[in-house]
Symmetry: C2
Subunit: 304 residues, 2 copies
């Protein structure tokens, strides 16, 4: 069995098909676990628990392996890899899903065989009933911090399960629309507060180009996005944001409000690189130092 990484992500590995106002690409390495793990790997040792089909390209596997990502829990099943086709229109703010082929994802039954369990666990956006099954496997003295993501589809169709997940995690990442949908609160601060009351100690609301908001026991904290004069492909921004946050937390080995605030700063920066090219192309060009430099710029330009 592989050595237990500091952080594991349970999510999707996908082959995407994208079009944006700047161009289209028919085959893009995607999926929440791919973006998350690649982002986190800059900060800590991370593993991926996901499923792919027999068509999954060897070179994509190498992309993750080059970053030392543990693929002992990347299962190959008969059939095709999860495929998502989407497009972005001029405002680049939200993806329009054109086609979703779940393929092998239909048979995804994540089983964490790490012993001990990783200290940090991230449940990316998958069926909340699946998230609950993973949570049943995630316990023991080693466990420090569990966070999750979700999406509008599950809030709509499986609200009770989403709420059960929220009662069992330390942190949740959600976008602004989802936070409003889940709580019925238009005001985002109230929405974040309501989610905080559902269980998670840290509620991180992603606002795309408008940055992020953290609701904690000490109240609300606000973060602008890194201002970019060119956003090429927003796919993976949220997952690599979460990967940056969780990767930094795992590297710190503990979580408190101060560490969380720095982590969100890094998440913001990682996402700002992700969107500069298709898929993981931009992240593959950069080094950890690039994050630190850009974070210093962000600190400077948002200082009042």
């Amino acid at each position: 069995m592989a050595k237990t990484p500091n952080l594991v992500v349970i999510g999707t590995v996908a082959i995407d098909e994208l079009s944006t106002p700047f161009g289209a690409q028919q085959i893009v390495f995607g999926g929440s676990a791919s973006y998350f793990s690649y982002a986190a790997s800059f900060f800590t040792k991370v593993g991926v628990a996901a499923v792919v089909g027999q068509d999954f390209p060897v070179e994509y596997r190498k992309v993750l392996e080059e970053k030392g990502i543990d693929l002992s829990h990347l299962v190959t099943l008969p059939g095709k890899t999860f495929h998502w086709k989407g497009k972005y229109e001029a405002d680049m703010n939200s993806a329009i899903t054109l086609q979703t082929d779940l393929n092998v994802l239909l048979d995804f039954k994540p089983e964490l065989r790490y012993d001990p369990i990783p200290e940090f666990v991230f449940l990316a956006n998958v069926d909340p009933d699946l998230q609950l099954k993973v949570l049943d496997q995630v316990h023991g003295a080693s466990l420090k911090f569990v966070a999750c993501d979700t999406m509008n589809f599950w809030i709509q169709s499986k609200r009770a399960s989403v709420e059960k997940v929220l009662r069992r995690v330390h942190a949740v990442f959600m976008n602004d629309g989802e936070a409003r949908q889940l709580t019925g609160e238009v005001n985002l601060i109230k929405a974040a507060q309501a989610i905080h009351n559902m269980g998670p100690e840290y509620v991180i609301v992603k606002k795309g180009e408008h940055g992020a908001l953290l609701y904690s026991h000490e109240g609300v904290f606000v973060y602008p996005a890194y201002p970019l004069d060119s956003v090429y492909d927003p796919t993976g921004a949220g997952d690599s944001f979460a990967g940056g946050v969780m990767g930094y937390l795992a590297s710190a080995k503990k979580v408190n409000l101060k560490i969380m605030k720095t982590a969100i700063g890094y998440g913001t920066i990682v996402a700002s690189f992700t969107v500069e090219k298709f898929g993981l192309d931009r992240l593959r060009e950069i080094k950890r130092e690039n994050f630190d430099k850009r974070l210093e710029v962000l600190k400077k330009i948002c200082k009042i």
Copy 2:
């Protein structure tokens, strides 16, 4: 003739009729120059150049006089005061105009009789041809800084005049939609840069609940809004934001990037109070110290 104030605003004084999800009020003291001057009066001596009708209530005049606002250029003309009726729906992000009665505003021909001219001048959102006529009166050794606002209606109907104004001011305040409309750039950083290239040294883009953005010769700076769990009435947020910014600048007696950044912090805070009640009701309850306290909170909660 009245003593020249440090700052003068040329704009509207209005009687508004508002409804929001939290209630309706048939008679609210409004107008760009009212919000702007009231906000600025916390920081500096400010004058109002505007027009009202014979129905303008004495008690509204007193509201401004109590803050020491110079009303020597508040002209009363035969007829009724400018009247705006609007409503906000659940998301509170943009006003829906239900009725506009220009009334005496049709005969507004601002004439600045101050000698010398105030050091700081703000052209609130009025017909850009009127703004140009004021600019013709605004010169001399005393003059330090001129800023303007505008709106979608003028960008649509009098673009050439708006562009002429922009060539002649030091700073422009615009909301995100207007910046995109004026430049045809979806990306807000590119839009702000394009406006900067049209003339103004400082381009301040207002993003409502998402804060503000400053584009200057040193590039872009970003500001979150003060996070509020209850926004009661957004009317006047933009004008009181500009009033806070310009009031602080006028009190500093000069403008550089550092001073502008602090000024935008104060503008953000003033606007955060404005929206907590109808009209000027909330600003009338607070003191300058309240701004300082809330600015310290904002600095703390947006520090990465």
